[in-house]
């Protein structure tokens, strides 16, 4: 850690020398300022974020200011920065900006406006997909790391199968059966709770219900192993192709197929953190498990998770572009960068901007996320911190 650029902090009469009292976030910020590539990544990310929000505002709604779906067949494949031919267009067909900043596509739609709309789509796909993946990852990883040594007992399995059956009955609209089973379940849970509160074991004939089966950790980690056996892009492609095309399906599927890394990660962090003294102290004070997990352990484990989330957003955006390219992406009324690129590939020699503009923009944004994420990884890495 460089000390020459930081002021020394003195307290009181100036006799007591204290170490620099920087908060971890201020330290991180300080290191980030020194890492040029990460800083550039952050800047591009912020610009992209603002552009995406502007894009949502100006292209959304019933009567948008800039209409991405406006077709002008007589103006197709105009190069970037060309002016519209005012004599052939009706008044409402004129581009609101008065110029085709990035040209038009094969239907005469304004590529600039479509790119603006696509920015928001790419952003949401990236963030929602990674949000789902990180959410599942933190939940399962936390469970596995913190409660990993507990066993799943037969009555747990019984409880969940009852819940699933109730859901099944409700789904098939057999409400009476569902209500009956629900009552049984709730009574059983309440009875078990009362036994637990008096520290009583299950009565003799029912003791087999408490038989331990699997450990929580084993269950979750085997699930991760199973998921890792699927070739991820192929799996996403299969599911997307089988489900009706929709932008939400794509987000959810990318999210549901990419939580394994975060899970392993969070589990490892929890396994090491739960053995530390501050957790033991918190437990000794009688703090609830939930509070220990979310207030004491999580803040210490979150930094690397955020790093992998940043990198995950980059790869989710690439996946979305790849899916759109293969024709399984976001369905037509929405423009996405992948769609624009894949529509433009037929005109690659006549209208190269249709390929190059979205391609370069995807490249820059994904690069920004990668640079920022990797930069933050270096910054959070204590081994590298010492050398800086």
């Amino acid at each position: 850690m460089s000390t020459e650029s930081k002021p020394m902090h003195f307290i009181g009469a100036g006799e007591t020398f204290m170490p620099p009292s920087y908060s971890p976030w201020a330290q991180t910020w300080h290191l980030l300022l020194k890492n040029r590539m990460a800083l550039a990544g952050l800047l591009i990310f912020l610009i992209f974020f603002i552009v995406a929000i502007i894009g949502l505002i100006v292209t959304g709604g019933v009567d948008p200011i800039l209409d991405p779906a406006r077709v002008r067949l007589q103006e197709k494949l105009r190069p970037p920065l060309s002016l519209p031919k005012t004599d052939t267009l009706r008044k409402e067909e004129l581009p609101a900006l008065g110029i085709y900043l990035l040209g038009t596509d094969d239907l005469g739609r304004d590529v600039f406006v479509r790119m603006l709309q696509g920015a928001w789509v790419s952003l949401t796909v990236g963030f929602v997909a990674v949000g789902i993946a990180v959410g599942i990852g933190i939940l399962l990883g936390g469970l596995s790391g913190y409660y990993g040594r507990l066993s799943i007992r037969l009555y747990h399995i019984l409880f969940w199968s009852l819940v699933v059956t109730v859901a099944g009955f409700t789904f098939h609209q057999r409400f009476w059966a569902a209500a009956l089973l629900l009552t049984v379940t709730i009574t059983a849970v309440a009875w078990k709770r009362r036994l637990d509160s008096r520290l009583l074991p299950l009565p003799g004939p029912l003791r087999w219900l408490a038989m331990p089966t699997l450990q929580v950790d084993t269950l979750i980690m085997r699930a991760v192993d199973i998921m890792l056996c699927f070739p991820s892009f192929f799996l996403i492609l299969t599911v997307v192709a089988l489900l009706p095309p929709s932008i939400y399906n794509i987000m959810v599927i990318i999210g549901l197929t990419s939580w394994m890394g975060t899970t392993r990660f969070v589990r490892a962090e929890f396994l090491s953190l739960r053995e530390l003294d501050f957790v033991a102290a918190a437990r000794a004070l009688g703090i609830s498990d939930a509070r220990i997990i979310f207030r004491h352990i999580m803040p210490n484990a979150i930094a690397p998770v955020l790093v992998s989330a940043t990198l995950g957003i980059a790869s989710a955006m690439l996946t979305e572009a790849g899916l759109s390219f293969l024709g399984f992406g976001v369905p037509p009324p929405h423009a996405t960068w992948g769609n624009i690129l894949s529509d433009g590939k037929a005109y690659i020699f006549d209208a190269p901007w249709l390929t190059f503009i979205p391609g370069v923009v995807i490249l820059i944004v994904v690069l920004a996320f990668n640079l920022f994420g990797e930069g933050m990884r270096d910054i959070f890495n204590p081994k590298l911190r010492e050398r800086n």
Partner: protein
Amino acid sequence: MLAFFGRSVIQKIVTLFFVSVVSFLIIHLAPGEPSQIDPLNPKFTPEMVERMRKEFNLDKPLHIQYLLFYRNLFNGRIVSWRDNLPVLGKIWERFLNSLPLFIVGTLLTWTISFPVGIRSAIQRDGIYDKSTTFLSYLLISIPGFFFAYILIIFVVTKLHVPVIGMETFGVTASSPLVRIMDRTWHLVLPSILGATGGVAVLSRYVRGQMLEIIGQDYVRTARAKGLSSETVYYKHALRNALLPFVTMFGLILPGLIGGSVIIESIFSWPGMGRMAYEAILGRDYPVILTINFLTAVLVLAGTLVSDLLYMVVDPRIKI
């Protein structure tokens, strides 16, 4: 050692079983059925659909379908729903097409990323390190199909070489030399594209590994003894830095059957990835499930191989 082997084989078979169940469920519980793929076709009368469902066992309960499917898979009698050809034969044929891509791509990846990674670790924070770092981020971030188009435009307009497909149409009539050159040219671009991501990731990994080893005490000792930097880097540091990469030999196994869908689509390469893509489009369940199953087998075999290799090369690891 033997106990470890046995235990992990059993564990992997259990995992494989669950993979087969999950993939079967994903495919069969998703909305839509192969018999409904073309509802507007007048030839698809209800009787016809019924006959198809019967033929493909789609009218049986799900667990029976599962058993029938995997029994056929292990007997090797499984056939594609599209053309009634044996699936394993089809896969083998496509596999032979994808194999050259895989071999050349892997060779490129491993021969490029090691020198690059080692050099940027030795010259840490130098110009070379910074530029290769940036370049590798660039290569990770570029959408594969976009990069493919840039390369195609360059090769087609500047070098005037045809690159789409496995060979130029009608080239079979010319001399062997011309044919070999033609095949090679067609192989170059897809393999380079297949290798880019790998080179970028692997060279960063090599660099990180080298950096960690260079910081160790025994490297400092070697340097303090007055050994030349050649000896220090290539004899003392590199040998230890290589350890984790031995295990990666196991992890490239799944790539054998993976084949990139996107690259093979762009280059009209009749390989595995393209076949999987066509199977997905046609709802050819046997092909999709078989590819999935084989991939899972290779992934699991790969991890097993890498565990074993690690034990062989690193005497510190004992079970």
